[in-house]
């Protein structure tokens, strides 16, 4: 269907035009909202079409689909090279979906609506670009483009301490990106003589990266890996995340946790593992350790939080640790499960942050000790929160369970009973969620806040949540829908290993 249509470019162009249109024509907030909704809707439709037209029958380990490649800066070997495989296409769909829902969820933003909506679309452009580019340079540019709208979203529409949080977010992740950029340069300069021509192309570089000197490989790997785990973020580089999340507006948090964190883990799979599979294998215990420490640390930190949103933020660290653990196994199953967990976490965390935002909005606070017994007052919100928490703690039948279970299975195959350590964290996860739920929506009705005028969810809040919960249940009950997309692409990521094993 898309033989002659550059659909990936269209995916990037529509959010961009949408952003310009919203900035330019959105003087009336209503117009701005509808423009943003329409353009993010078109993007979502395109992403869905892309997903449905994605060929699953392609042979195992086949190359990228919907590829587009044009020379951009020929002297330096920079090209405009886009393409998707089973891993990126899910992230593309997730991005388009979450941005659309986040825009809908922000229907009540009154302050500078057009800038807000325009920035959301710009963010969409950046994230989609990261997930589709196959050229290091292009990848880096989109990677940085994402920072700017997110900075403004936090800095303008954020909470009371937003100035601090936004600058911390910007500088922290920018420094990490610069280290990554150094790594990219080192890759480029080492690979170009081997290739015989300058090239920033990910596939070209990966084809010769195995013949770099071992020491160089480790150094480059470390630089790239550092850039990615700060974004993910893994302990001990996670400190920007709780600040950024707590201060960000709800939709900003949804996109931050749902998409920006995924950029980190996506980068590890697409770049670190794909380019240097053997180095990953050598360092797999260390990588797994970082993942497990993040899982455990995140879970313990959650127990200590009194702010619902901060708790959810720490739970993201814990759940992204599971992704890293899956990657560290370096097996087909573990890698596929890691991607699945990224997708699952994207859906679930969106529900969680939306719930937190609604508590802030309706009850005026997210402090757990201030809440209590609210379930009868706000039944819809409470049920949603319950489903979200259950999905996040890995209730069978929901999407989170399948993903975590697969990662843990892969871990067991790789390391045997060491898997008990991450499994222990599952109990912790259940503990903090159930405990938080018990204190905030069950028990006696709180007297610390005004519960008389508390309002349940509005339509523009219910619809996105319903969509997300529907998908969480659908993919939880029938995970093959997702796994079938991911699995054929995994061998390609691990091709470099074939020679060794």
């Amino acid at each position: 269907m898309f033989e002659n249509i550059p659909i990936l470019s269209l995916l990037l162009i529509f959010p961009f035009i949408g952003a310009l249109a919203t900035f330019g024509l959105g003087k009336n907030p209503k117009v701005a909202k509808y423009l943003a909704l329409v353009f993010s809707g078109i993007t979502l439709v395109l992403a869905t079409l892309l997903l449905t037209n994605f060929s699953l029958s392609a042979p195992l380990g086949s190359s990228f689909q919907f590829e587009e490649k044009y020379q951009w800066v020929p002297i330096l070997g920079i090209s405009y090279h886009l393409g998707v495989d089973g891993i990126s296409i899910l992230m593309v769909f997730l991005s388009a979906l979450l941005v659309f829902l986040a825009i809908l969820f922000s229907w009540d933003v009154e302050d500078r609506t057009r800038s807000y909506m325009g920035l959301m679309l710009l963010l969409d452009l950046g994230v989609l670009g990261v997930f589709t580019s196959l050229d290091y340079f292009l990848f880096y540019i989109f990677w940085e483009v994402v920072l700017i709208p997110m900075y403004f979203l936090i800095a303008i529409w954020g909470g009371p301490n937003r100035a601090y949080a936004s600058i911390k977010f910007f500088i922290y992740t920018h420094v990490a990106s610069l280290v990554m950029l150094l790594g990219i340069f080192a890759l480029y300069f080492t690979a170009s003589p081997l290739l015989g021509h300058p090239s920033f192309d990910m596939i070209d570089i990966a084809s010769v990266a195995g013949s770099f000197g071992h020491y160089i490989q480790v150094i480059i790997y470390a630089a790239l890996f550092f850039g990615f785990i700060v974004k993910m973020p893994m302990v001990p580089f996670h400190t920007w995340l709780p600040d950024a999340h707590v201060q960000a507006p709800t939709a900003g948090s949804v996109l931050l946790a749902g998409l920006l964190l995924k950029m980190g883990s996506y980068g590890i799979i697409r770049i670190c593992v794909f380019t240097f599979p053997n180095i990953t294998l050598e360092g797999q215990v260390l990588i797994a350790a970082i993942g497990v420490v993040s899982i455990i640390y995140g879970a313990f930190a959650c127990l200590a939080q009194t702010d619902l949103k901060k708790m959810v933020a720490y739970s993201s660290i814990s759940h992204m640790g599971i992704v890293l653990l899956g990657i560290a196994t370096m097996t087909d199953l573990g890698m596929a499960a890691a991607v699945f967990q990224m997708f699952a976490h994207g859906l679930i965390t969106a529900v969680l942050f939306m719930t937190c935002g609604m508590f802030q909005h309706k009850a005026g606070t997210r402090e757990i000790p201030m809440l209590g017994g609210l379930a009868p007052k706000i039944p819809v919100l409470s049920s949603v929160m319950m489903i979200g928490f259950m999905a996040s703690l890995g209730l069978p039948g929901l999407v989170g369970f399948m993903a975590e279970f697969s990662v843990l299975t892969a871990t067991y195959f790789e390391w045997g009973l060491w898997v008990l350590i991450p499994i222990a964290s599952v109990a912790l996860t259940a503990a903090y969620y159930l405990w938080a739920m018990q204190r905030s929506i069950f028990g006696n009705l709180t007297t610390k806040i005004d519960t008389e005028h508390i309002h349940d969810a509005y339509w523009f809040e219910t619809v996105p949540l319903a969509v997300l919960i529907g998908l969480i249940a659908l993919f939880g009950i029938y995970p093959r829908l997702i796994m079938d997309v991911i699995v054929p692409s995994i061998p390609r990521i691990l091709t470099g290993l074939a020679g060794v094993i």
Binding site: W72, V73, P74, I75, L76, Y140, I141, E144, V145, L147, I148, Y151, F152, A155, I156, R162, A163, S166, I167, F170, I171, H174, V175, L178, V179, L181, L182, F185, A186, Y188, F189
Partner: protein
Amino acid sequence: MDYSALYPVLIMVAFAVVLPAVHLAAKSSRAVAGVSVVGIVASMGLVIYYMMNGYPPAMGGENTTLLQFDVFAALFALVFLSVALYVVLTSARYVEKDRHQAEYFSLIMLATSGMMLVAMATDLITLYVGLEVTSISSFALVAFRKKDKRGAEASVKYLVIGGMSSALSLYGISLLFGIAGTTNLAGLNTALAAMSTGLDPAAFLAIALLIAGFGFKIAIVPFHSWAPDVYEGAPTPISGLLAAGSKKMGLVLMFKVFLVGLIAFKADWQVVAAIIAILTMTIGNVVALQQTNMKRMLAYSSIAQAGYMFIAIAVASSFAVEGSIFHIITHAFMKGGAFMIVAALTYVALGENISDYKGLGRRAPLIALSMAIFLFALAGIPPLSGFWSKVILFSSAIDASQVAGQGWMVWLAIAGILNSALSLYYYVRVIKYMFVDEGTTKEKLKIPLSMCLAIGICIVATIVIGVWPDPVINVCEQAARTLFPAI
């Protein structure tokens, strides 16, 4: 002799002479500025004509050249002329209530012609003449508002330091002449390289004097302390001219003297240049962090940017010079644009303190957006122009570090990247003030058309070079090659 190499400069000089007469007839700064624009555009046209249809023959004596209008000269001529263009456009309204308008515009034209002369020079004498033409014109320009206390202080400071730097470089030049017996740059290199006994101690002194003399012009550490005071005190469009024009002329001087005339001894000055580069970028950025005045902050940021450009001297490769030239071009537009915005805002009675920019996003949305773009470009955020030039500059250091014995050069790239991260803080702070904080008033600001045009030129250049850097990189590469004919 064929004088066609000199025509672009002569056009500028001719207009400089005519401008007072125009002012006598029209009595308006706008008319004078308009005529200046005609002159600048005519000169640009001629330069572009030369670029398209082949360069004029070199000028000079029988076996020595004095001026050579090649792709290097053409590229820099275009940069300097563009700077002059937006400075004149901004000044059209900026000086409308001042006296001596004709002299003001004449001096801008003359300063520009001096810079163009430097870009063409192949001989120490012509180089020095160009340098002095620019210096003397800019002394007067800084002193333009002589009743203004800060301006008067700045101009005296600039005059004293500028005079000293000229004296130092002249002394260095005379020493070189004494040692080598020639003032021709290429000849100088041959003569010095032929000395089998190694470098004369006097040559070391000459190199030190030249680094100091030109270093004042570029404002590299430790010769930088005049720059913030002068940029702050000068009329803002002139600050832009100094930062985007005369400072870049200093780098051209460095390229010509060190990379052409003294390249045989690069081992003797490379490490010094590297230390200066790292110190300059670091001190520039660290001090910029604590500035509260917009012009001073931009001045320190210029110092830091000069540090990045200085990497090319330390690396001394064609690729590095390509990056440096590219950065000079992008910097001319992004820093110049930022200064023009400060000038435009001063014109509509907004203060020069960074805190005065609070809430600007609502008062003048497009101007604030442009400022944000310039600042992001200066910080090196992709896909804006500053990102590309920094990429080439830093990657040239990494590239050179792969040559045996030059492994230390990778630290230049690392220092540059760390500094870029550091600089982000003070750039983003301004952006935060403009868009996040609320100002004391919400009254809209109306910027005159000619100023918008000047800012527009810079914005278009910053974005277009960012999205489509290829042609510019191409020309920069050719220009860099002219300095390294052997490669």
